[in-house]
Structures are given as C-alpha cells and as structure tokens.
C-alpha cells in the first residue's frame, strides 16, 4: 500500500519561502496569484495491507517525525 503525505505550514505561520515564490511568479508576469505556500510531499511504500492499520501507523509516523505539529499540519492519502 502506498501512503502519500502532504505536510503544510499551519495558517498564521509565516512562510518566507512561499512569499519568495509568490514574488518570483509576479516577477515572471504571472498575475492572479494571491498567495503561495510551500510544503512537503512524502511517499511511503508500506507492507501493511489493512487500510485502518496503515492509517494509524502513518498517522503516528507523521506525529513522531514527518511533521512538526507545532508549526505544520499533515494529510494522509492511502492507495
């Protein structure tokens, strides 16, 4: 089973890299971008085949390492 994890900064946490991307897009002439936020994407190949167990496992992985929940949110998709 594959887990696809998105880690994003929480609302209200300043994202200077996202800001830089936003400005660079504007400099390239792309209009209409109100805001850019940068995050991380992580893919895991799991041996677990039970969906519920996999969800619980990956959730724990996110809380213990993959995301820093002081500043980040995460979302998990299983396939």
């Amino acid at each position: 089973m594959k887990a696809r994890i998105h880690v994003t900064l929480k609302n209200g946490v300043l994202d200077p890299q996202g800001k830089a991307i936003e400005h660079a897009l504007a400099n390239l002439g792309f209009g209409g971008v109100d805001e850019a936020r940068q995050g991380k994407y992580i893919e895991l190949d799991l041996t677990e085949t039970n969906r519920e167990k996999a969800q619980a496992q990956v959730d724990e992985m996110c809380r213990k390492l993959i995301a820093n929940t002081v500043i980040e949110n995460y979302s998990i998709e299983l396939e």
Partner: protein, 220 residues
C-alpha cells in the same frame, strides 16, 4: 566541572565548544559521538551548532530522534544542566524539551554577524553573571533561527521569565525577538547565538564567557 559535548554527523561547532569549555572550566570535555549514547555521568551537557544530518526534513529533526538524544532528554529531565546552541537549540525544540520551533529566517538570508542581545532574565543558572537588561555582543550564524510559538506559549515563556535573551534588533523574524529560552525547571537553555565564540578578547569580545562562568558558579 565535567562536561560532555554531543557530536552528530554534521555538527561543526563541537570543537569551538570544546575549546571554550576547556579554557573556562580547565577540564577537557568528553566528546560524545551520537552512537556512544551510554556515556559517563557528567555535570553539564552541550549540544553544539552545525547542520546535523544536513538539516534533512527539518533542522534538528533527525538528531532529535537519535538514541543519544533519548539519553540527553532523560538526563535533562533529571536536572542535568544542558545547553543547546544554534543547531543544539533546534534539536531541543524538536525533542519538545523546549517549546516552539526554529523556522527559516523571515528575510530568507543566512545571517552571520555579531549581534546585540538583551539579557532578559539573570535569575537562571546560565545568566546569573550578567546584568539584567544589559546588552551583550555575541555572534550568530544561522539560516533557521526564526523562533516561532503560539501566543499562549509566548505569554507563558515571558510570564515565567523563561526568555533568557532577546535580539536587540530583530535579525531573523523571531516572535518577540526571542533569541534564547529555558525549560520550566530552568536547567535547559536553548539559544541561536554562539556564546562559545565570544570567550576572549582575541575573538572580538568575552561576553559569551560569562554564560559558562555562570554555569560553573552554580555547579560549584
């Protein structure tokens, strides 16, 4: 005073820390490689600056989950004075021993220069030798020193006198200009600036020396 400097792959201020500790305490510190986590009892533990594990995932994230940090967290919890400088501060924040997180500098620049710090609280084992409210000069060298915590945490830190140092000018976007904080028990200090690089006039000043002397005084 017997001290230990914890060394991770990618630490690069471990030797500066060792030189400072030897000069000030008169005793060579134990250099503890991260795999040698069963290290002898010491009076003081230092987590040095650097870019441990190449800052992979987040600064300090990998080191914080290492075996040696389990041991350091245990000893810090038992009251052993513990100091995290720069990457050491990031590691302590990642372990949760200190609240908050160190994020990319708000202006995106790597800041490498001497900065003025205001000593906010002299009632700690790390700062007792300073004069409250005075400014000291200590170098910084970091890309991710922008201290972040939610407002409730910041209020608690300030209310409990756990902000040891603030930047006189906000060089990195840190919330409330926070440069260094202690844990609730007061035996753990994390700070982005490098006092170990300012221990004698030949290095440009000796304001950092007072921090180590304060610890020594406390330990007797």
């Amino acid at each position: 005073m017997k001290s230990a400097v914890i060394v991770f792959p990618g630490s690069n201020c471990d030797r500066d820390m060792a030189v400072a500790l030897e000069k000030i305490t008169g005793q060579k510190p134990l250099m503890v490689w991260h795999q040698d986590y069963d290290f002898p009892v010491v009076d003081f533990i230092a987590l040095p600056g650097g870019f441990s594990y190449g800052d992979y995932l987040r600064c300090g994230a990998m080191s914080a989950r290492s075996h040696v940090m389990k041991e350091v967290v245990k000893r810090a919890g038992a009251g052993v004075p513990t100091l995290g400088i720069c990457n050491g501060f990031q590691i302590l924040a990642e372990t949760g021993v200190l609240p908050g997180a160190l994020m990319r500098n708000a202006n995106l620049h790597f800041v490498c220069k001497d900065v003025e710090l205001t000593v906010e609280n002299t009632d700690t084992m790390f700062t007792s030798g300073y004069i409250a409210g005075s400014n000291i000069t200590v170098p910084v060298a970091h890309h991710d020193g922008n201290y972040f915590a939610d407002d409730a945490t910041l209020d608690t830190l300030e209310g409990e006198g756990r902000v040891a140092f603030k930047y006189a000018n906000n060089i990195n976007g840190a919330q409330r200009r926070i440069a260094g904080i202690t844990n609730k028990a007061g035996n753990v200090l994390g700070m982005m600036p490098h006092p170990e690089r300012m221990i004698e006039p030949a290095l440009g000043g000796s304001d950092g020396r007072i921090l180590f002397e304060s610890i020594m005084n406390r330990l007797g």
